[in-house]
């Protein structure tokens, strides 16, 4: 058993590792890569996946739950509130219109009205997994089209609940709604036998519990876990969080994806946000990859080969109808042409929910097995077609129609907050000053700190600080390092600073680094590492204090200002030459001596009678010599 598990894991991972980079290189994107990998290892090519593909699909859909949790994390409640009009308006219009049109067509083809309605509702929904993953990958989440897509997907996820409630009324079921609730956990869950009012109360109670726990319990728990300083325990806690929400939601018969989304939104203000993000990101990515592979493997090519025209016609028809409806909605909600193409082509496929519903329909014998198989193929192909449609949009439509409306791209995103452009790593006394000064000038930095107690205190004081080890690549990434312009590094020790510098150089070479150093030695090391903006801990402060003393002793303030500049200039120069020879002890000591005596000489001449440093223009001595008495 264990052997076969490892063997399967090896197959999936090698397919992914081989095919996805190839697809990326060809500009197809990772989603299409996974789908192709799935087709290759599927029953119709290499045959590594057989019947267990369906099971795999259900398991892998947990990736969708995680994705929605992560999406929720990025979406603070007030931002969600701002999205309410697109969610209800666009989402509502899309679900209703698509259901009616697709259902209507099914009715004309000869289905009974209630079956037609069920088919309509099934095909009205789109694939959260494919759309969000593709949008994220292309960096389009924050465009108007991406936002609208997200709003519609969110509404669809909510719509799943009433749809499930409707299905039994359509007499498709005899009360076995929960039997197949693997995926989004749709179906009555464990509460089925309770009276309706009790079910409602428990359901609402569960949602309230998620909200309250997210607000009060989870931060406490995370703090306790963080205090152990065991990385894997934090990852475990993050996983536990999402799984617990999913289990709870399934128990009360709600969509776990929706529950996870709510949980995410509740935690969006938490300072563990970036930590959770970076912990869950790889799991989400792998599970989604698995999911896409499973979709690819589930395409029944035998069926396609038997009825190529029928399948092609149905897929194209479905995509065309859905895209047209979406396009009209996009237009009436004033999306620009290029954004509207992204929106309408992106959401034209059928979602993963259809797999559940169709197997359910098959089980109930509502439609003949062949028809169900045909519909399943259409679902899978429409999903697989999405990355191709996006590619078509990107390469063909946008260059033709997009250019005219480029300005719209520059419009500030409506809901999801823009990534902040400065990251402050380390929020000790140094970082606190940095953060305050940036904030006072309207630059809201993303602040990272790995002292959970301090984070707690600072949070209470109103600073937006996130808990986590800033030297970790994944935490930096979820803090938005890829989009940020600069990082200010002021961690607790020189070693940590250097580690972070190396991580930034390796993974985010575009990021400008401003680094605080402690003493000469680590300053040299930072110089060697190529850091351009180094701020030594005490030098400026020491010079300022000495300058104040000089003023008290009667020196003119403006001269002291010049002395200070000159001193710092000299010191920096000396530091550079010292850095070059510091490995040679003898040479280094010679150099130190020279530097010190140079400086002394300079300072002496600074203070000499009638000498104005840097002020020869104001020096009247030579004038007196020439024109004086």
């Amino acid at each position: 058993m264990a052997d076969s598990l490892l063997f399967d894991a090896m197959i999936y991972l090698s397919a992914a590792v081989v095919v996805v980079p190839l697809a990326q290189r060809l500009g197809l994107g990772s989603v299409l890569g996974y789908l192709i990998a799935g087709v290759i290892i599927g029953p119709f090519l290499l045959g590594f996946i057989g019947e267990e593909g369906d099971e795999l699909l259900h398991f892998a859909e947990f990736g969708v739950v995680m994705m929605l949790f992560l999406v929720g994390l990025e979406l603070e409640p007030r931002l969600l509130w701002r999205l309410r009009i697109p969610i209800l308006g666009m989402g509502g219009a899309q679900v209703v219109a698509s259901t009616l049109v697709i259902g209507g067509l099914a009715f004309f083809v000869g289905l009974h009205w209630n079956e037609a309605l069920a088919v309509g509702m099934t095909f009205a929904l789109s694939s959260t997994a494919i759309v969000l993953q593709t949008l994220n990958e292309k960096g389009l989440m924050k465009t108007a089209g991406g936002q609208s897509s997200f709003a519609v997907l969110l509404f669809q996820d909510i719509a799943v609940i009433p749809i499930l409630a409707l299905l039994p009324l359509l007499a498709l079921s005899h009360g076995g709604g929960g039997a197949d609730g693997g995926d989004h956990g749709h179906g009555g869950g464990a509460l089925e036998n309770l009276p309706a009012y009790l079910q409602t109360i428990l359901t609402l109670g569960a949602v309230a519990f998620v909200v309250l726990a997210g607000r009060y319990l989870v931060p406490k728990l995370m703090r306790v876990v963080a205090a152990t300083r065991q990385r894997e325990l934090l990852t475990g806690a993050a996983l536990l969080l999402v799984i617990a929400v999913a289990v709870l939601m399934t128990f009360v018969g709600l969509s776990p994806a929706l529950g996870a989304f709510v949980g995410g939104v509740v935690l969006a203000n938490s300072h563990y946000k970036h930590e959770l993000e970076s912990d869950l990101e790889p799991f989400k990515g792998l599970l989604l990859g698995l999911f896409f592979m499973a979709v690819g493997a589930s395409i029944d090519f035998k069926l396609v080969a038997e009825n190529p025209l029928l399948v092609l016609g149905l897929v194209l028809g479905l995509l065309f109808i859905k895209a047209s409806i979406l396009f009209i909605i996009g237009r009436s909600f004033k999306l620009g042409l290029d954004q509207n193409f992204l929106f309408s082509l992106g959401l034209a496929q059928t979602g993963e929910f259809a797999f559940v519903l169709l197997s359910f329909i098959k089980q109930e014998g509502i439609l003949p097995n062949e028809s169900v198989a045909l519909l399943l193929v259409i679902v899978a192909i429409s999903m697989a077609a999405t990355p191709l449609l996006m590619l078509f949009n990107e390469k063909v439509l946008q260059p033709k129609f997009g250019t005219l409306e480029r300005i719209e791209d520059n419009r500030p995103a409506d809901a999801i907050e823009d990534q902040r452009s400065v990251i402050v790593a380390g929020f000790g006394r140094f970082g606190a000053v940095v953060g305050r000064f940036l904030g006072a000038n309207g630059v809201q930095a993303t602040i990272l700190d790995n002292d959970s107690d301090r984070v707690e205190v600072l949070r209470k004081m109103g600073f937006e600080v996130y808990y986590g080890d800033a030297t970790r690549f994944d935490l930096l990434e979820s803090a938005g390092a890829a989009e940020a312009k600069a990082i200010i590094i002021g961690l607790a020790t020189p070693e940590e600073n250097l580690t972070l510098v190396e991580v930034v150089k390796k993974h985010f070479p575009h990021l400008q680094m401003v680094v605080r150093s402690f003493d000469y030695m680590d300053t040299y090391e930072l110089m060697d590492a190529g850091v351009l903006h180094i701020f030594r801990d005490t030098i400026r402060n020491g010079v300022a204090a000495a300058g104040e003393a000089l003023k008290l002793m009667g020196h003119r303030a403006y001269q002291v200002e010049h002395y200070a500049h000159r001193f710092l200039e000299h010191d920096t120069k000396a530091l550079r030459s010292l850095a070059a020879v510091r490995t040679d002890e003898q040479e280094y000591q010679n150099m130190v001596r020279t530097a010190v005596s140079d400086l002394e000489q300079q300072m002496r001449s600074d203070l000499g009678p009638y000498r104005t440093p840097q002020g020869a223009g104001w020096d009247s001595e030579s004038l007196v010599e020439e024109y004086g008495e």
Partner: protein, 202 residues
């Protein structure tokens, strides 16, 4: 009676020959507020509100500075740029300086002759001071003839003391109301007022 705000701008007082002497004991003169710009704002970050309050509290404003390249030292220019705001110092609502007197006290290396047509500087001090004069006009202030000390490169210790005494005497006269601005207006330099004229007034 009038009270005087003396705004002093010298970036290199350490190497000054005459200004250093001129301001010796100047803060002892009652009715005069000595305001050393380079000492107050070495980083050029000027507290505009405080400067405007100081201006409001005084009737006569003096700008004392060496003539550098026929102009003011940079900090005084910065002070003018920032302090004399539109809507405060000039413009339809900028009435707060109206009626005040403005006097330039200038030290220059060149002789009076050098500041004439054909001299090495070609133009008169008055012509070089036009921007300051018009600044005063725009703010509704009366620009008095400048108090100019020439030949600063050739002034010895003894001369310096005499010049200082005359200058301080002049300032006290201005404060006491013994020297009236109207009497100065026909002069070329404010310090053309002869000692006897000063004595007569006393």
């Amino acid at each position: 009676m009038s009270n005087v705000l003396l705004i002093f701008a010298h970036p290199a007082l350490e190497s000054s020959r005459i200004n250093k002497v001129l301001i010796e004991g100047i803060d002892q003169i009652s009715g005069l507020h000595f305001h050393d710009l380079y000492q107050q704002y070495p980083d050029f970050y000027i507290n505009v509100q405080r400067e405007q309050e100081l201006l409001l509290q005084h009737d006569t404003i003096i700008w004392q500075h060496p003539l550098y390249w026929y102009s003011t030292p940079p900090l005084l220019k910065q002070w003018i740029d920032l302090t004399l705001e539109h809507g405060w110092a000039y413009g339809s609502r900028g009435v707060f300086l109206k009626g005040k007197k403005l006097l330039s006290v200038i030290t220059a290396g060149g002789s009076r002759k050098a500041y004439e047509t054909g001299g090495s500087n070609q133009y008169s001090i008055h012509e070089f001071l036009r921007p300051l004069e018009q600044t005063a006009n725009l703010c509704g202030m009366t620009y008095l003839p400048p108090y100019v000390i020439h030949n600063t490169h050739s002034i010895g210790k003894q001369d310096g003391r005499k010049i200082r005494e005359a200058y301080h005497h002049f300032l006290k006269g201005l404060i006491a109301g013994e020297i009236l601005p109207e009497e100065l207006s026909h002069l070329s330099y404010a310090n053309d007022l002869t000692p006897s004229q000063l004595l007569n007034n006393q």
